[in-house]
Every structure is written in C-alpha cells, then in structure tokens.
Symmetry: C2
C-alpha cells in the first residue's frame, strides 16, 4: 500500500508514519550532507530533511536540484520533534520533482509595494499574505454564520443599478445594452429595505465599488461589505446588534486563527477587549467636546476626519460607538432623532489602535414625507427612488441596519496598516493588475 497522502494540517494524526506530501519549496538550506527543505502546501509549513548517506542517490540529486517554489511530491517518515518549527519534521525517503522553478522573483530582500502588487499572484504565497487571507476567509465565514444562526435571509443585492444611493460622483458607470447607463453598487441597503419587509431579517454580503480618487491606505476601489437590515429594529437595538456582531466575529477569529495571528505577530491582547460587551457609547456632541479637549480642531456639526477617529478611539481599549451625528453629515435616508431633530439616529463604530471607522449604521426613516423632502433637497431624481419610497407607502415599519467593509476589519484584526494587503487582488486608483 502506498503511503497516505496528507496535508500539513493533518500532521498530528500521522506522527511516526510514512506519508506523502505535495507542495512547493518555500525555502531551503544546506549543511554538509544535509538538505533542509521547508515545504509549504497551502495549509502550513513542514521542514523536510534529506540526509545524503540515507537516501537513494537519485533522491539526493533531486533534492539538490530543487529551487524556491519548485513543485514536489515528498515522501518520508513523519517525526515529532520539539525543536522543529511546528513540532514535526519529515525524514525524506523519496522526492518526485514536478517542476523545478526558475529564479523566483520575490526574494528575501525588501521589495517596494508596487513590485509586490505587480506580483500579487505570487506574493500570496508568502507567509504573511497567506496568514492574512486565512483570517479574511475565517472572518467571512464567521459573518455568514452569525447571520445564518440568527435566521437572517441572505439577499444578494444587485451590483448593476440604475441609480445611486449617495450621489453619482464616485460611481463606476457602464453601458447597459445601449439602452441605459448602469452604475456599480456602492451599497445594497436600498434593496435590503424592501427585502426586510418581505423577509424580516436580511443581509447582503458582496463586493461594492467606489470610484473615489483617494490614494489613502484606507481606501480600495472594490471591497466587500456586509449589510444587515432588520424590520422592527430601533436604534437602541441596532447598537446592541453592532456590538453583538463585532464581539462574536472577533472572538471567533482570535479562536480559530491563532496560528495566523501569531505568524502576523499580532498582539491579540489588544483584540481581546473587543470580544467583551458592552462597548463604550458616546454621543456625537460629547465626542466633539472630548476631541476638543484633546486638542483636535473639530467643531460641532462637522464630520470626523481620520485623525479625529484615531484620537477618539485611542481613549478606549475596544471599539467605541459614536451615536447621533448631525443629520447634515449623514445620508438622506436616516431617521431623525425625535429628541433633537437636527441629529440622525446614526452610529459609527470606530476600531481601536487607529484603524478607524469599521461600521456605519442607522435607523432608517419610516416617513414617506420626510424621504420625499430629502430626495428633493439632495437633488436626486424622484422617479429613480419610487420603488424605494414604496417601502414607506405599503406598510411602513421601523427598521435599522448597518454596513461593515470587511477589509478594514481584516486590517484591524491582522494589524496591517494598508488595506492593499487585505484583499486577494486589491483594486486601487492606480492598480487594476493582475
């Protein structure tokens, strides 16, 4: 019987056995009659040791010929060894070389971000990018499980839309069969509101697009956003939902991505407070006073800059929820605060450590008249919103929701400063390749 073919995720179940692994040479070094090959297979890394006196000459020859990122099938005895990285080592008995790779473009030296992004398809093979992608994947599943386990219905909102939620200046536009212009969606929210009337609790989770000409480390032109929308949920319930959501998904990533977070050298003690509720909640007005006392220039009525967000968030060990912003700095569809109608029932959740806003949400206006006035005041074409207004015409109901761009959340969880590393193939203002 040939040896079991396993992955590096399955080592523990096969200690002492002869096994076969398939993967790529991540790294190698020589020491006399020894070759140490670090094999990576997408699931982990394993040190494979080839000792010339103990192997067939053809195996030794194959080992010596291997270069970085050559593809191989390796057979050997799996030995538990405390000194080995990961706790196991493979005593190689056989090597089947699939392909010897030519000199690999990504070496040990520091490459600039442009070089690495040009080679994103290869850069993903590095330990750090691998770990970030695993965190992103776990986070995405955690988000879906959160909503699935609470009986939300997934509603995939359309990407091709006839009108814009928040103006057309930052929209990608495409011709739609010579008949119309279509715009790439910036948010599924307007579509989720009628869906919430049909299905009670709904969410969407898909790519969204912003043709903003911003070159900051906190913007991508294409990113994935999750947006729940809940019928009968009022503002206070929305704040609870944001908190419950973040606490659960952060706890899950810390729990299931330990190896990846270690590889990223992420100090998870900085993340752990975010798994504990409650989060601090601060009224926008109080936040302004606090920011002014901390030396910020912001005035009541203004929206926060990135710097304001950082300074405010640094006051807390976990995400902080800033509530009841002035209506004028927020989107047209928000419910006004009955206690202070210049304010909207809006919340922004700011991540700690300078990672900025990760969630924005609000109670939505349930008043047809208010929305009609808002649409006129914003100069939006009424006929494009007729269907949206129908939500307030046929059985209007209180409802709330939020949106979270997952790349910012991944950046925070992984402790990476630039969003370009949080997306498998990031799209930036000057970057559409590969």
């Amino acid at each position: 019987m040939p040896p079991a073919v396993i992955t590096i995720a399955e080592l523990a179940a096969h200690a002492g056995e002869t096994v076969t692994l398939r993967g790529w040479v991540y790294n190698w070094r020589k020491k006399g009659k020894l070759r140490f090959i670090i094999l990576r297979d997408g699931f982990g890394y394993l040190q494979c040791v080839v000792f010339e006196p103990e192997v067939d000459p053809a195996v030794w020859e194959a080992a010596v010929a291997l270069t970085q990122e050559s593809s191989v099938v390796v057979t050997g005895t799996l030995v538990a060894d405390e000194r080995a990285p990961g706790g196991y080592e493979l005593k190689v008995t056989g090597i089947e070389t699939i392909q010897v790779a030519p000199e690999y473009p990504i070496g040990k030296k520091d490459h600039g971000p442009d070089f690495l992004l040009n080679h994103r398809h290869l850069w993903l093979r590095s330990r750090r990018q691998h770990a970030i992608m695993r965190v992103r994947s776990e986070l995405s599943q955690a988000i879906r499980d959160f909503f699935y386990s609470r009986s939300y219905t997934l509603i995939d909102s359309p990407i091709l839309t006839p009108a814009a939620a928040e103006g057309t200046s930052s929209l990608f536009e495409t011709d739609y069969f010579g008949e119309a212009k279509a715009y790439l969606s910036q948010s599924g929210q307007l579509y989720l509101e009628p869906a919430a009337a049909a299905l009670g609790k709904v969410y969407c989770f898909g790519p969204t697009f912003r043709a903003e000409k911003s070159k900051t480390r906190r913007h991508l032109t294409e990113f994935w956003m999750v947006e729940p929308e809940v019928a009968w949920l009022r503002f206070d319930g929305l704040l609870d939902l944001c908190e419950e959501f973040l606490a659960e998904i952060v706890a899950r990533v810390i729990d299931r991505c330990r190896v990846d977070l270690e590889r990223l050298e992420r100090d998870t003690t900085k993340l752990e407070p975010a798994t504990r509720r409650p989060y601090p909640r601060i009224d926008y007005g109080d936040a302004i006073v606090k920011l002014q006392s901390l030396g910020q220039q912001i005035q009541f009525g203004g929206d926060f800059g990135g710097d304001d967000e950082t300074v405010l968030a640094e006051q807390y060990d976990r995400p902080v929820m800033v509530t009841r912003y002035p209506a004028q700095v927020k989107a047209f569809y928000m419910q006004l605060d009955p206690a202070d109608p210049i304010r909207a029932l809006a919340v922004d959740v700011l991540a700690p450590e300078g990672y900025g806003e990760i969630i924005g949400g609000s109670e939505r206006s349930d008043s047809l008249e208010h929305l009609e006035r808002q649409i006129a005041a914003h100069g939006l074409p009424r006929e494009a919103y007729e269907w949206y207004l129908d939500v307030r015409k046929y059985g209007s109901f209180p409802h709330s929701g939020f949106g979270m761009g997952i790349e910012r959340c991944v950046a925070w969880l992984c402790g990476v400063p630039h969003l370009r590393e949080t997306s498998p193939f990031p799209r930036l203002i000057n970057r559409l390749y590969p």
Copy 2:
C-alpha cells in the same frame, strides 16, 4: 410584564401564551362578527382571529380598517389548532396599527412578468417569492459550509479586471479613472489558480456578469457563481468533488427548506435521487451516439444545445456528468486528455427535468507551452496573461475546479422555469429596474 414579542418561526414554544407579533396583513376575510387576518412577518404566516363581541370596540375598529400590506403589531392568545394553516391561531386581544396601506398594486389576478418585475420590491412579499428567496439563502449557506468544513480558503476574486477569461464580446466595460478600461468579471477562475498555489484549496463565490444579448429564460446578465479550485486534484477527483458537492447541498436544502419547497409545490421525490451517489458519468462521444439514437441532430465535435441537454438529462433520475468534450468547444485553459488529445478533461453536469447545465468544470492545463500556444491561437493578448502563465512557470502543478451559477441550481431545486424568479433583483437584457 408585557407579552413576549415573538416571530412566527417561534410559535411552537409559546402555545397557550399571550404574545405579540409584528408584521403585515397578507390577506384578510370577514364572516359576520369575525375578521380573519393572515399576518406575515417574514418568517411565516399566522391566522389572527378578531371576534367583535370579545374585543374592545377600538380593536374591532382597527381590525376592520386594515388593508392588505398594512403594518401592524398584534397581541393575543396563541392557540394550537389543527384546522388552522400552520397549526396555530392567534385569538386577538389588541391591535396597534402602524400604517394602513393604500390599495396594494399586486392583487390576486394574474399579472404579467413585466408588471411583477417592475414591482419586484413588493413582489418579494408574495408566498412564492418568499419561498424561493429562502431556498436561495439556504443553498448559499450550504455551499459555504461545504467548502468551509473541508478547509477551503475563501478567495474573493476581483470583479474589476483588466482582461477577459473567455473573450471580450460579452463583457461589461467601465472606465477606470481615465487610465484604462476595466471589465466586469465573468469568472474568478484565473485568479483562483494562483491562489490555489498559495492556499491549496480555495473557492470564490460572488457575482459574475455576462453582457450576452440572450433573452432566454436561462440567462441573467448578473448572477452568482461559486468556483472551487483545488491543487493536486486530477480529473477523476474533480468528478467526485462535483458529485459530493451537489449531493450534499441538495440534501441540505431538501432537509431544511421543507416548508418552502411545499409552498412551491415542488415534488421533492424528483430531487431526492440527486442526494445519492454515484451520478451517471457518460463520455461525450457516447452521449452524442445516445442523443442521435434519441433523434437529436447533434454531430460529434459540436457543443450541446439546450435541447440536447434536456433530452440527455431526461434519461436519468439524477444529475448526469458528461465528460471529455472536444477541446475546440471548451475554454483555452483546459488540460487535454492524454488518451485522446482532441478532447479536453472537461465535465458538464446536467440537472434533471430539463434544467440544463448547472456545473462546468475541468482539469486545468499545467503546461506553459500549451497555454502559450492556446493564448496565441485564440488571439488573446499575451501580456495580459503573463501573471496567469506564472502559475505554470513557478512550480506548476496539476489542479482542477468547477463553476456553478447558483440561480440555475435554485431554479431546479424550486422547480421554477425562469431564472428571473431566482434572483432578488434580477438583471436581464431589458431589465435594470428596480
């Protein structure tokens, strides 16, 4: 203490109690001093009975004023009643009217598809559309759980791409900051292949776009596609994966969407064989002979038409896997069959009952030279595929994958003939609204 606020999904736990429900009037009828109100809340339907002699005059007045799709908060005693649809009935004691709706546009009479699609935001409230959306949501989660539980890493492939996987004629195009043209992705596959080299087993699951001028019931311009890509997986393993995948997700939907499938009057005995492996596998050549014997005009070398697919699939009680198509009718990146190099190691999975192709997959070519020739032969710009070719340059490896558009799968599971009902807000050649 006020009564518990519950949803119609939670009735069983509250029989005999006084409860409050929030929702919309799905339907109502009168009978003397009785008003029967069918309440829907997004989770189900509940008959609420108002009996004039037993309620406050204001409650009776409120009940009488309610119209279809008015929003209400209803309180009453929940009574188990075998005769009631769903097994429970609410003896109403209180009604809080949130909004009385004006005449609802969607009535009992038959509306044409255009009318219904123009009112898609309201049409979603109907029993049938509600059920389809629940099936779609369950299917999507089943797909994610399938891959998550098997240690696949989710890789969100980009939507904005610089080049096309399969030619540019059916692509939506957008200007990218005045610097370049970007095309909306038709498939994430080319991006998944390098990701498989980095992470072993990967999948993407997101919207894809086809600007095809086809007006058939089996085409949408925007649809969601799931695509796994697996390193070291050869063609036979791919066939097993397709089968394992379909069998598991179909079984899960049958199991967890019983109520929805009943509401759709779907005969699930027609679906059940698909939960049992193996599926029939038929060589393309044998399929041609069989089709000819069944009176079809198709010749060896041609691709199947929708009619051929239907006729062939009708021979089986479960999905049938057609293998090893002529390379010339398939995409450029496929591995040729070593036993017969005019064939590609490609598989199409055809659903029963005339629902046609739901999965297309293949082993991918691992030969740099073959792909270079293919790219030249198809007149594709080599420089746009440089990064893709790198997958064969730096540690080439056997790998396979498939794609499934979920709308076709939803149509099959639900037994709906037209894809327009399988998407929350479908996009067709003549349909971009709402």
